[in-house]
Symmetry: C2
Subunit: 157 residues, 2 copies
């Protein structure tokens, strides 16, 4: 399903829905970051997705990372809450979802890399390469917050 | 509107909705905790409520504490995420909401205590008295997590 992000855009359509979602910064022992190239917009992103009724938010992280990357993870902690009403996402079916995203740190505990219908590439990305990839500014911010070990409390925005 | 909490109850109705909500542990300089007696079930609780489209999660905290207590606050940090699918709340209108609550620490910056239609009493509660009040077990857990200064990262449950 196609998706268009609007960030502080005066032409953005008004939001009509809020669905809690997650993204996860998963780092392996070499410090590489698990990333996917999204099939809907071609950009690189942390794996993640929407919370489903019947699961805890940790369940959502584990399920979404597994679905999108083939990697099994366990949640370590929370790095940020991203709930800027100026960031909305419009979907093909008419839904305009206001951002409500929680970013977690997680560690890999098994599985093997594979793509899914939501990801055309899935890779462990070297930190040196991270800056060269096409990453949406809001996603890059989450990565920076999650990798900033000087933060003692989650970002709240 | 009446509300019934079900906690790991085999007779609980299935959830049909998830709405992000907040509660806030607000402490004054004397260490007292801002609490309300809820008009819907008579129990004592931290102020809080549901997130609205168009606001950030910090906006929600500030608005709900103001509406329910008359106190203006600013958000300090996050103390826990509470998303147990075994905790559902049934409302009179047929909605059965799965718990999705974020607990924040906040500090008072103005205002004066008053009640609202959601609260029959609003008070600054001494820590010594806290244990004697009728507080729902899930709310008590949030208070304990938020007051536990040995925690270095938010509770995730």
């Amino acid at each position: 399903m196609g998706r268009i992000d609007y960030l502080h855009d005066p032409d953005a359509p008004p939001a009509n829905s809020v669905v809690p979602s997650v993204v996860a910064l998963v780092q392996n022992d070499a410090g590489q970051v698990l990333m996917i190239q999204r099939s809907d917009n071609g950009r690189w992103a942390l794996p993640g997705g929407g919370h489903d009724v019947g699961e805890s938010i940790s369940d959502t992280v584990v399920r979404e990372v597994w679905e999108e990357t083939g990697i099994k993870v366990e949640v370590v902690d929370v790095s940020g809450l991203y709930t800027d009403p100026g960031h909305v996402m419009k979907y093909d079916d008419g839904e305009v979802r206001q951002q409500f995203s929680i970013c977690f740190r997680a560690r890999p505990i098994g599985g093997e890399l594979r793509t899914s219908n939501e990801s055309t590439q899935v890779r462990w990305v070297d930190l040196a390469e991270l800056g060269t990839l096409d990453v949406h500014p809001t996603m890059r911010l989450r990565i920076e917050h999650a990798m900033d070990r000087t933060r003692t409390t989650p970002y709240i925005g």
